[in-house]
């Protein structure tokens, strides 16, 4: 599984990345995390704001910090 956290590096983006890491650690899912900070790359996903989370190419959340439990529901499917 490939998880991307889109965002230039503000505290909200960092918290989102941490929640993703925690969710992966707790579920034991085999996943890689990539932090995407390049504005043009982020724009390519068509998101209105950041932080955003993309899992296997599917945009799961935009402009908010998803909770660890919410992320778990996405990665445990």
């Amino acid at each position: 599984m490939e998880i991307k956290v889109l965002g230039p590096g503000c505290p909200k983006c960092k918290q989102t990345e941490q929640n993703v890491k925690d969710a992966i650690a707790e579920t034991g899912v085999d996943a890689t995390i990539e932090k995407v900070t390049d504005v043009m790359q982020i724009a390519g996903y068509g998101v209105f704001g950041t932080p955003s989370v993309v899992i296997d190419g599917e945009v799961k959340s935009v402009g908010k910090i998803p909770s660890k439990d919410e992320i778990k529901t996405w990665i445990e499917k």
């Binding site: 965002g7 230039p8 590096g9 503000c10 505290p11 909200k12 983006c13 900070t37 504005v39 982020i42 996903y45 068509g46 998101v47 209105f48 704001g49 950041t50 932080p51 955003s52 190419g57 599917e58 945009v59 799961k60 959340s61 935009v62 402009g63 908010k64």
Partner: protein, 128 residues
Amino acid sequence: MKEKKMAEECCTPGGNIMILACSGGSNVGQLSNQAAAELTREGFGKMFRLAGIGGHLGGFVQSAKDVPVMVAIDGCEVGCAKAILDHAEIAIKNYLVLTELGIEKNKDLKLKSEDIRKVKAAVRSACE
């Protein structure tokens, strides 16, 4: 510079208002577009691509679902913007139909400044 600006916006509490205009081929369609563009330039929200939602592109649809404040502007009662949002199962938070503001629909694409002002004021009011 762009990255710095985005980093600042990224941390802004509450985020931006999403403005979705039908941008149709009549005076009222183009009024929706012009008002959305001017409001964006003035810092009141940010115009977003309704066509991306219509194409069911994931990032656009999810953005519209997650944004806390949104306004959809249809030029006339045909309601193309509303139909696109309904089709993508996006809850419409604020909604305007410009003919209901007393602006008559026609094919004259030379927009009147008084109409643009009226639409912008209505959009601002709808988001209060």
